[in-house]
Symmetry: C2
Subunit: 330 residues, 2 copies
């Protein structure tokens, strides 16, 4: 598999140099792998720190900025960052109001953020954590005990980021982040496998004419493999999976997310089918986002995330945000 890289060993460092060149409003520590809002710490405001394996861009580094994350820690591709990165990030963003760690539910991330929280508290930084586990496809997987964290991470980071921006205290920001996660569900499909730079070839084998339903963001297995389906059939499967599990009564935020190699033309077409199926099931839609936000390198496919939102969550969703990957109102 051909890649636009120098050598696999420098892929993450090269990307961080490029992020720094494109975004002078961020402080990018390439050596220590921490991306921080240039104006951090912001007096009186809770700091938000997330991170995880690289290869899911713009998640998380592309969501650092006013109204969203205070800092992000990128690991190697599909590999958890280490506690030292998280500790540095926490120290850089803590104004004394405390720090919220937003952790996707993968074993390595959970262990390392736990350790970083202990280290940070030893240094007098107050830390709360929220675990994101929105993927309804499987309960346990290669990488996870329990459900995986995927698209809901964007909703958690945006809404909790707005709550922090409003000056809410740590326990309130953490409670809102947990509320967003509890009200979110995701389901993904893969039309092709992705290739990591280190391996240089597809991480699994998906024959022509088949797709994988319930795929994870590292290409880990899903619920089942089937003969290729239409966009409408895939929308029916994805909407059924998330709606049956969540059973929303309020209007939902919708994220139609590309896995990396699916054209935007196709994602918009898929969004039309998702809306058709949601309407048929009587689920009202409050807001919609279509694009590549939580990706899996060059995987073809898409995921659907819905988040049942009350008035407060909608207000926080609509609040201004200014990051490389998500921006409105400023």
């Amino acid at each position: 598999m051909k890649m636009l890289i120098n050598v696999p060993e420098t892929v993450v460092a090269d990307a961080l140099r490029g992020l720094a060149a494109a975004h002078p409003e961020l402080t990018v520590d390439v050596e220590n792998r921490v991306i921080v809002r240039r104006d951090a710490p912001v007096a009186g405001k809770v700091g938000l720190v997330s991170g995880g394996g690289s290869g899911h861009e713009p998640l998380h580094g592309g969501f650092v900025g006013p109204g969203m994350l205070s800092a992000a820690c990128p690991g190697e591709v599909f590999t958890s960052p280490v506690p030292d990165q998280m500790l540095r990030a926490a120290a850089a963003v803590d104004s004394g109001a405390g720090v919220l760690f937003i952790v996707k539910n993968y074993t390595g991330d959970v262990l390392n953020f736990d350790m970083a929280a202990e280290l940070a508290e030893d240094e007098g930084i107050q830390v709360a954590k929220v675990l994101v586990n929105d993927d309804v496809a499987v309960t346990d997987s290669l990488y996870t005990a329990g459900r995986r964290g995927t698209g809901a991470t964007l909703f958690v980071e945006k809404i909790a980021g707005a709550a922090a921006d409003e000056g809410m205290p740590l326990e309130r920001v953490a409670a809102i982040a947990r509320q967003v996660n509890e009200n979110s569900r995701s389901f993904g499909v893969a039309l092709s496998a992705c290739s990591t730079p280190a391996k240089g070839s597809p991480t699994f084998d998906l024959p022509p004419g088949e797709l994988e339903l319930g795929i994870g963001i590292h290409g880990e297995p899903g619920r089942e493999r089937r003969a290729m389906m239409t966009s409408g059939e895939i929308a029916e499967a994805a909407v059924e999976a998330v709606v049956e599990d969540l059973r929303p009564r309020n209007p939902v935020l919708v994220l139609v997310n590309g896995m990396g190699a699916t054209p935007l033309l196709e994602l918009y077409g898929f969004n039309a089918e998702v809306h058709r199926v949601l309407a048929a099931r009587g689920v009202p839609v409050a807001r919609v986002l279509v694009g590549n936000y939580v990706t899996s390198l060059d995987m073809a496919g898409a995921s659907l995330t819905i988040c049942q939102a009350d008035e407060d969550m909608l207000r926080l969703w609509d609040a201004p945000v200014k990051t490389p990957g998500l921006r409105w109102g400023m």
Copy 2:
């Protein structure tokens, strides 16, 4: 090649339905294939209309909104829209201040926009045109007499859109659009071919271990085919191609654009190399944009566009914009 679609015949209509569902701030006429700002026509302001074959999203439909295009006309995949679409768009956005057609230099687009301009003028709409032809790779191609229009289209649409928003008259908006095009150069590379829905398989054959330098946005041939290169080597080739042709003396706007299937992780790494080479050549960078903006369906690869910008152009570039694909300041 597997695709997230229903049937090839409805790909464009499905995408328009999905765009409408995601963006209530746009008026999307699915039947007649015209996307218009909901508040058009804007009293006293010049209207901007662009369009071209689908498959390059977010170009052009994703660039409709305040501060950029007033309307866009999507054709079938890689096929020019028809004059009737352009005429409808012009009529929808003309406030009496006239309409600027922004036309990428492909034979079909040029002919159809010419015909639409005549029809519009017959209806009393004043029309000016700007031809975008920034691609330095080849002079004539399968689709073009002269140079092809690619990444500079984004710069033209953004900067001319801001000029129209400031209330400049038609001839001034057209002059600025031409100035942007004249000061822009692009060069693209493909690591893989793209597959159109109608064909269902790659549009050309690119063997493992080779890349195509100077590729067009429809996969049409470039300058040469070579053994696979590193990101740094590709940046050297791309920067040399655009800088030797433009020989900029002012700082440049930089667009590091993904062709559709290249991970953002790789695009940021490529951006780092582009900046390294520009610095070595003494070309100062004023602004940077990294992402998938002018795509070729599921092609892997990237293009580089630079635009030499004076103070006026920079001010117009920085002005607020609110579209699905490009947004800041509002």
